[in-house]
Amino acid sequence: MADSAVAGRVRTATPRPFERPAIGGVLAVLEYCARVYRRNWRGTLFMTFISPILFLGAMGFGLGSFVDAAAPGAATGIPGVAYAAFLAPGLLAATCMQTGGFEATYPVMGRIVWDKVYHAMLATPITVRDIVAGQIAWFAVRLALVAGAYCVVILAFGLAPGGPMALLTIPVGILTGLCFSTWIAAFSATQKTDNGFAVIFRFGLTPLFLFSGTFFPVERLPAFLQPVAFLTPTYHGVTLTRELSLGIAEPGSSLVHLAFLVVVIAMGCWASLVTFRRALVN
């Protein structure tokens, strides 16, 4: 053939095996998410940084002054603890749940159905496993920002009698959020439209936000609802962050809460891998 006869210039070498550390592909996907966030972080400012202050101001201090009217801690069952100090760590965990859930809806479905960003990645050495791991790693980064912002507010307002232990609320907040990110990402990968997301928010995240012990102890729920609350990651996340922040955490129960969150996340990662693979490889 005339053109391939331009000898030597034709690239014919058998390719070397493509090798890089297993984490390399994950980091590249994480970098992609970070680059997108750098373009649109302003839209998340309110939810991440302003709303903690508003919520704490209105509910913690405003409503708290009514709750604490008799004696601090009388209403919540933790004597001597102001309602604001009771509420703040709970809000941290519950907000992580909301952010973690939201980040796994439109961004994930959009990258599969609308922009086909993941498909573009798969034309490179990136694998489905890299995509799932990188995306979940990004959820963790976003959650760290949210939990970190809350933690700063908690410490600044002197709401953490537990002292430096309160910093542990950040990793627990991340875990609480990831319980929802992983499972909702797995769900989003099965969706062709955004119709399902409203259902998740209305009948999933909003009730969990309100009734999982964030604003009042689950012991105040009707008896038949209490076992349901114990089965939600939100309850375990809220309880553990609160105990850490107040300095009343005990190793045994803390490990149970932690184990619950970790198991839910592990199963969510596996579910994401299954549904992402189904959506992207065919």
Partner: protein
């Protein structure tokens, strides 16, 4: 003509390659070889199985059955190594609308494990190559269709691939944008990049492809260079006769013997012959009064019509 039995290894080697989606057979046991340095085309109408074949070559779609080797490797076990050496221009652009033009290239380079510095250097070179360097910091969304396509091609080159897969590279573009793209692809071919493309434009296939296969209904129905295919399946010239509406249907029998082969399309009659002028004169002698009579050379469109009984673009 590359010979599969020759010592030079095929860049792509397929035998009995099959893709099924449930009961639907998208690609039905096709055989082909692509030699290093050539421009190889899959020509066929929508739904012929071209994209499914390309996605298997690109190691993003698992082979249902048959043998496939790309760059001498097996997509099942060496997917990432193969993909590291190929560039892919998918049928619809998968550019990232949330990132800027140059950033689209840089992050893509990162997927290939390039350093930031190297990805940046290549991005600048490639943006010049596709004449988008002045748009480097712009958003992707407002770019024209042709610019987006050029950006997608630039992105596919960030890993300096040995093999470039182009799925309908110019569909939906205006003629000027198409010619600009063809020029870029021709330059790549001259640089030694092997091109594999699908198209349903015969002029694109004729312009770009050294060799092509015609696909129809999941199978390969013919294979050769554009000229070989035209010689084998068509005549040197074609006489196209157009009649006023309703007239053609009344002319049964009057075309007999005018040409080696006659195709009657809804809007015109095609007479395949070595001498179009002579056929035209003979038609007039028989009293046929077409609205217009055009003598032209045979194209791949005629080849396709002959092979499948249908036009490429309906």
């Amino acid at each position: 003509m590359p010979d599969p039995g020759s010592s030079e290894p095929s860049l792509i080697h397929a035998r009995g390659l099959t893709k099924k989606f449930g009961d639907l057979v998208a690609v039905d046991s096709v055989d082909f070889d692509v030699a290093p340095g050539e421009a190889f085309g899959f020509l066929g109408p929508n739904g012929a199985g071209k994209t499914s074949t390309m996605r298997m070559i690109g190691c993003v779609s698992p082979v249902t059955s048959g043998t496939l080797r790309v760059l001498g490797l097996d997509p099942v076990t060496d997917g990432p190594s193969i993909r590291a050496r190929i560039g892919v221009v998918p049928q619809s652009d998968t550019l990232d609308m949330e990132l800027r033009v140059r950033e689209n290239l840089i992050i893509y380079g990162r997927y290939f494990d390039l350093s930031h510095r190297e990805a940046g250097r290549r991005a600048d070179d490639l943006l010049k190559f596709v004449q988008l360097d002045e748009r480097a910091q712009d958003r992707v969304e407002p770019l024209s269709g042709g610019m987006k396509r050029r950006l997608t091609i630039a992105r596919s080159l960030i890993n300096e691939p040995d093999l470039l897969l182009l799925d309908e590279p110019t569909t939906g573009l205006d003629p000027q944008a198409r010619h600009l793209l063809w020029d870029k692809l021709y330059r790549l071919k001259q640089q030694g990049v092997t091109l594999v493309l699908t198209t349903h434009y015969m002029d694109e296939a004729e312009q770009l492809c050294d060799r092509l296969v015609v696909m129809d209904k999941a199978r390969i129905v013919a294979e050769g260079s554009p000229r070989q295919l035209i010689e084998r399946y068509s005549t040197r010239e074609v006489l196209e006769l157009r009649f006023p509406p309703g007239v053609q249907e009344t002319l049964d029998g009057l075309f007999e013997g005018l040409a080696e082969r006659i195709e009657r399309l809804p809007d015109r009659v095609l007479l395949y012959t070595t001498d179009g002028e002579a056929a035209s004169l003979e038609a007039h002698r028989r009293g046929l009064q077409p609205e217009s009579a055009l003598v032209r050379r045979s194209t791949l469109e005629d080849v396709f019509l002959r092979l499948t009984g249908r036009s490429l673009i309906e």
